[in-house]
């Protein structure tokens, strides 16, 4: 299999060499790596492309513009964590499954491990760092504390953002809605009982807050 390359396949799919599988057999001398994959046929002249090297981008994070220089392949979670030191969101599965990297983009919860940073330009990105006002915990964070909805806490920031996004869409959630509205996040310590209560509490408090405001 290691001899199959894109350039040998007219209008054909790429044969998979996965990240862990690419060295199958007795080595890589046959050129499954690096420049060996570059096709010989020129791609049509593009109207406008950037990269593959690092390019300057601007992100709107928690209401503030932030400039950074990253390669197009850098994901939003890696941009936040590795380039901007915004580390509330966590990289856990890194494959759009566990929800630890959840941020809110243009009002919708998304997995930041599966958004390219360059593609997040022009969008309102809310991370957990933007929730608190001064030293006051956001009602969702406070409800997590009040209901002991965290243990190791590594899934917590993603869960808090998922809950915030859920409550924004469901201001009066029932317990059933809570259970079914948070199916995109996983916890390993088993804090779900507390999270269920926290969401109900936070929804009530946020409703009260918006009435008062």
């Amino acid at each position: 299999m290691s001899s199959k390359k894109d350039s040998e396949l007219p209008v054909q799919p790429k044969t998979g060499f996965s990240r862990r599988g690419f060295m199958r057999g007795v080595g890589i001398g046959s050129g499954a790596l690096g420049t060996g994959l570059l096709e010989t046929e020129a791609v049509a002249a593009p109207p406008a492309t950037v990269g593959p090297g690092a390019v300057p981008i601007s992100l709107n994070i928690n209401g503030k513009p932030v400039n950074l220089t990253v390669e197009p392949r850098v994901t939003l979670i890696d941009a936040l964590r590795n380039y901007l030191d915004i580390t509330g969101a966590k990289r856990v599965c890194d494959r759009a499954t566990c929800g630890a990297c959840t941020v809110i983009m243009n009002g919708k919860t998304v997995y930041s491990c599966t958004v390219l940073a360059i593609d997040a330009q022009g969008k309102n990105i809310e991370t957990i760092e933007g929730l608190a006002t001064g030293s006051n915990l956001h009602p969702v964070s406070k409800a997590f504390w009040d209901n002991d909805a965290q243990q190791c806490g590594y899934c917590t920031p993603g869960f808090v953002m998922a809950c915030k996004g859920f409550i924004d869409e469901h201001p009066n959630p029932t317990e059933e809605e809570v259970k079914h509205g948070l199916g995109g996040n996983l916890c390993r310590c088993g804090t779900y009982m507390g999270i269920r209560k926290a969401v109900i509490q936070a929804a009530k408090e946020m409703k009260g807050a918006s009435k008062n405001g």
Binding site: M23, I128, C152, T191, Y192
Partner: protein
């Protein structure tokens, strides 16, 4: 000098902070995303590391060439972990690693390392004992009484086979660290369950003095028994750092490697026969079991579990070596397996003699260690009451005519949980400020909170007056957080160091109050004379008498003395009941209600103790219903080293959980007992028995997935 303080816990009715449920101290930083785990840190000059892992389950490295990787711009260091000649024993084995200015560059460079392998034969089928050949090696054999005779004489004999697969810890924060190695010094920011033991271990591996190693960790994103040592990963990281001129290197496992190589729970399979009397009394146990812990062998799960005094026992265990990552302690090592094999076999025996399993479990509780017999009987009744067992339980196969069948199942657990050896220092400053200094770690269990509660209780202060300092290697050493040994240890050492410090304060303050030191007490922020509450000084006024000299006193937990002191002990019991519904058309199992009754001696913080039980049960439900390592026998590869097909339970998958902490006075008086592990033990067994009760036939193998359930219903159990 005052007499040695009376360290005993205050009587239940006199406790002010212990036994109350303050919210966890690390709640605000964690729920606001401000908690900095070591994997969140960015140290000045830090490089990003990435691994190259073996794609083969068994192979010999014949050559490795890193020259192309070294030429990649931004690469600062390359380290070969598996030089030519290394025999790779499992997929995911660390072959080499790169440190570079960005993570993207580091990852890309690993792909430019050329490795040649001689691929060797592999074996991965731990469940298939018949074909394991030389990979199977008999381990423990135990013989008590005359099992053959007892089987012949038994009124009834039940027989079954049962299996519980390898599962992963799946810590959300992967294993790894930031490490900086310069000359004979090293700084490490690891993710570890053992802050105090980390430097001594690393010192041996790097051959530098332990005094020159600084370790710091504030928060850890899950360990569950898999994160005690620096492991190969700290060594690889250290060498990358050294080769890069001493720049710090951040090196964590990626998710697939985290699952494949950073620990797992051994599997266990068994054929079991139980014989006994018509009245439900068991007289004989016979089991042939096998399982794998990877390439190395592991201890056999205890059989029979808890009911160890059955008069006739024959147990034979075989280890099956497989080419897969090595097992590590998994939240009560060996005990889920033991509980599953034993409680399922007991349940089948109850069915055989036509009895309610609760009754059979109660009758045979006579075989539990004598001190715990009454506790198990009490807990079986209590759990049955909370689960409405009498109303809801029906004999096997009598659970209605529709396609949804409801069933109940029971199982039990036992655990030690005594405090490990450790120390703590309490410092009282002349300005009245107090710090508790302890080289421990809070895994999210609430360690910070309970230490502060114990100090506040002991000093007559509020929790906000106590500053806790923990998480570095230069503090008085606590132990590693394993075996549910932390809470007993830190409660004891904090209690003793705080009372020792207080005794010193009494020495200084006594003359001013016109009393002897032993006549003083610390209550509500005052030092006062017992029986004369008007003769008192505020805490601040009392501390001012120290002049410019602070008090710093140690407290120690010595395990062999602990029981006599009465502060902590071992021996937790638990009984759990699962109430499930099974859709017999699809084989899908849903948990309706799950009851956990648990004792852990004196409970310092009921809220946090309940959270521990909820968490343990939820983790267990995931293992009972969904989780299993899936390996391909043809290629030796792990097929689900991800969180997509290695399936964890979500928030809607766990039913409603009812926790009852068994805090009766007879338990409280035993002192503090650890809780991290005991409630994580019986879940597979309780759910397995509940599913079996619901559908009328035994589903032998965990997890209770549709393929397993439907196969059992169709009699395809093989």
């Amino acid at each position: 000098m005052a007499n040695t303080p009376d360290y005993h816990w205050p009587p239940m009715d006199q406790r002010k902070v212990i036994g109350t449920s303050p919210k966890r101290l690390d709640g605000p930083v964690k729920s606001s995303g401000r908690a900095k785990y070591s994997s969140d840190l960015k140290v000045p000059g830090m490089l990003f590391g990435a691994y190259l892992y073996s794609p083969h389950a068994h192979a010999k490295v014949t050559s490795i060439d890193t020259s192309d990787a070294e030429k990649v711009p931004g690469v600062k260091s390359v380290y070969v972990a598996a030089p030519a000649g290394t025999e790779i024993q499992w997929e995911g084995w660390e072959v080499a690693a790169v440190a570079a200015t960005t993570e993207e560059i580091a990852r890309e460079a690993t792909r430019k390392i050329k490795v040649n392998y001689d691929v060797l034969p592999h074996y991965v089928k731990d469940w298939d004992l018949a074909n394991a050949g030389a990979n199977a090696k008999q381990g423990l054999e135990k013989l008590v009484g005359d099992p053959d005779k007892a089987l012949q004489e038994a009124d009834a004999v039940s027989e079954g086979h049962y299996g519980i697969p390898v599962v992963y810890h799946c810590c959300l924060e992967p294993h790894g660290q930031i490490i900086q190695w310069q000359g004979d010094t090293a700084n490490v920011w690891p993710s570890t369950q053992n802050v105090p033991g980390y430097a001594p271990d690393l010192a041996q591996r790097l051959q530098i003095p332990a005094t020159n190693i600084k370790v710091k960790m504030d928060y850890i994103g899950g360990g569950f028994g898999s994160k005690f040592n620096p492991d190969a990963w700290a060594i690889v990281g250290a060498n990358l750092s050294k080769n890069a001129g001493g720049r710090p290197v951040k090196l964590y496992l990626e998710r697939d490697a985290e699952l494949m190589i950073a620990g797992n729970r051994p599997s266990a399979y068994a054929k079991i026969k139980i014989g006994g009397k018509k009245d439900g009394t068991i007289t004989v146990w016979q089991s042939e079991s096998w399982g794998t812990g990877g390439v190395q062998s592991v201890n056999a799960p205890a059989q029979p579990y808890v009911y160890t005094n059955i008069p006739n026992i024959h147990q034979v265990h075989t280890n099956v070596a497989v080419n897969a990552g090595t097992q590590r302690a998994w939240r009560a090592p060996g005990n889920q397996q033991a509980s599953y094999l034993t409680c399922c076999a007991l349940d089948d025996f109850a069915h055989k003699v036509g009895m309610d399993p609760i009754e059979v479990f109660k009758i045979n509780a006579q075989y539990a260690p004598s001190a715990r017999v009454d506790t198990y009987r009490y807990q079986l009744d209590k759990a049955a009451e909370l689960a409405e067992w009498k109303k809801l339980w029906k004999p096997r196969g009598q659970n209605g005519t529709g396609t949804m069948k409801r069933g109940l199942g029971v199982a039990f657990a036992a655990w030690g949980g005594a405090g490990h050896a450790g120390q703590c220092r309490t410092v009282i400053n002349p300005d009245g400020s107090v710090s508790v200094e302890i080289g421990s770690q809070d895994l999210g269990t609430g360690t910070r909170t309970v230490i502060t509660q114990v100090a506040a209780e002991s000093l007559g202060l509020s929790m906000s007056q106590v500053k806790l300092v923990m998480g570095t290697s230069d503090l008085p050493p606590d132990g590693g957080s394993g075996g549910s040994s932390t809470v007993g240890a830190v409660a004891t050492t904090t209690r003793k160091s705080s009372l020792n410090a207080l005794a010193k304060l009494y020495d200084v303050v006594a003359p001013a109050l016109g009393a002897q030191p032993e006549e003083l007490e610390a209550v509500d922020g005052h030092i006062r004379v017992k029986g004369s509450p008007n003769k008192s000084l505020t805490w601040q006024a009392a501390c001012r008498k120290l002049g410019t000299t602070k008090i710093a006193e140690m407290g120690e937990n010595v395990p062999r003395q602990a029981q006599a002191e009465g502060l902590n002990t071992q021996g937790a019991a638990g009984v759990q009941i699962a109430d499930v519904s099974v859709d017999i058309e699809t084989g899908i199992v849903k948990v309706n209600r799950y009851v956990a009754v648990q004792d852990c001696g004196l409970v310092i913080n009921p809220r946090l103790s309940e959270s521990q039980v909820y968490g343990a049960v939820i983790m267990g439900i995931g293992t009972a219903l969904y989780e299993e390592r899936i390996m391909d026998a043809q290629t030796g590869k792990t097929l689900n080293p991800d969180m997509e097909f290695y399936k964890l339970a979500g928030i809607a998958d766990i039913g409603n959980i009812v926790v009852h902490m068994d805090i009766r006075p007879e338990n409280d008086k035993r002192g503090v007992i650890g809780l991290g592990e005991p409630p994580a033990i019986p879940i597979c067994a309780a759910i397995g028995n509940a599913v079996t009760n619901a559908i009328g036939v035994r589903v032998p193998n965990i997890p209770m997935t549709p393929d397993h359930v439907l196969a059992a219903l169709e009699g395809r159990n093989g």
